[in-house]
Amino acid sequence: MFEWIPAYQRFLLDVTLIDIILVISLLILFQCGLFSMATAGFAAIGGYTSALLVTDADWPVPLGILAAVFVGATLAVSFGLPVLRLRGIYLALGSLALAQVIVIGIANVGFTNGVFGISGIPTEVTTGWLVAIVAVILLVMELIHRSHFGRAMKAIRLDEHTAAGLGINVFAYRMATFGIGGAMAAMAGALEAHRTAVISPDQYDFGLLVVLLTYMFVGGVEHWLGPVLATIGFRILNENLEFAGTDWENFYYGSILVVVMLLAPDGLTSRRFTQRLARIFRRRPDLAT
């Protein structure tokens, strides 16, 4: 379906689509007021679950991915019970500790082949799959956004105590989103494993999380469109920084983050920023006349 795209561009598209799934898994939690840093851990769980099942137990790839989703959701819910007692920055750092335990654990046990990772994973995941999956996810995100579920999540994010006073079951919402977030991260991990054929623990390190966080916050957390656009934008940007062949790649990347935060502290799609932009553009014609 997407074979007409040149191989390298298709590779970039695939990477971007998987990043989008990861970012959305982070965003859905954040929309419920949960700043969780466990995403990389769940992605690793998903990648290894599917990779091991498919390579060692000869499961078909789709089944392996489904198993990854199931394991991700189950683990997220069972970790969620204790971890969701934490609040704010403690939740962020506690979930980070959780992710570290998972990833370092994988790097140090036998059946995962330790730090060397797994190679020779069947690669059946095509661009078509990824596009379909991302489309479904974004559709669901939009449905949530437009329904009373989205309103309830926003209420929880803005003020969980008041939300509870209006009959919103804060705990149930948070458990559900934690589970969904875990499942999505695990799915992204599995898809990635079946795209590259090789996985190793170090690809799920802190760096991955940092990148995802910047996509989310630069895009803005009010609507899924912001983080999605930011993910695409940063991918294009990264490509061009690389082609510039500069050692200063990270410097430019970092300065873009700083500048964006100074211009739009709540992200590029936040109301505060778009309203400011609107004012600027409305003023333009006045100047011309």
Binding site: L143, H161, F171
Partner: protein, 256 residues
Amino acid sequence: MTVPTELLQCEGVGRRFGSVTAVDDVTLGVRSGEVLGLIGPNGAGKTTLVNLMSAYLSPTSGEIKFAGESIAGCKPHELARRGIARTYQNVCLFEQSTVLDNVLTGRHLGFQGGLWQLGRKRHREEARERQLAVELIELLGLAEHMNEDVSAMSYGLRRRVEIARALAIEPQLLLLDEPTAGMTRTESDEVGRLIGELRAGGMTVLLIDHNVRLVSETCDRVAVLDWGRVIAIDEPAEVWADERVREAYLGTGESG
């Protein structure tokens, strides 16, 4: 005369924070259909009592019953579902959202449909809830502010939005924590009239307020709290005449 049934009962309710006793052995009933005033100096434990009644806090002693059933172990959202709505002393609105969004969020319990309910059915449900929210907004005289951002609104308007949102859950019992603080005289008179209308419609209301005139005019009975204890509960005129109330709360009458 029949004994009025009590919708909410506090039996020997106490709440300590460390070594501080905020509410001490309070026995108090809110009768069905009445407007009960709760007054007392700041720090007397009024807000703590409301927090206990809405399950934000659990009592360290005693029991609270709503409609005859204990609320022990109840979460705030369950209590909202059972019919208790409240406003907050320091106005807790969802900031950077419109008036309509705030009130619609209060309609959360009214929605039945799942995420997959699509098309006309979903549209109809959304439209129905929106209509209810709009009616409440009009009732509170906020129609012209419907799509304004609450963060930019005045204190008095924000208080009214909060009341509309509390009414949106269609409660049996409404707990109002200082609803007229920060309002002008005309505005608080309007709130008084609204409480009267709600009462006429069968709603039970617990009203905390410092405005003695409002409390006198709108409340069937008044309870006075001092140092966490109920020192008087009776009809307004009787309560104002009580010597202990004059001493603990009214003082020399200057603060009217």
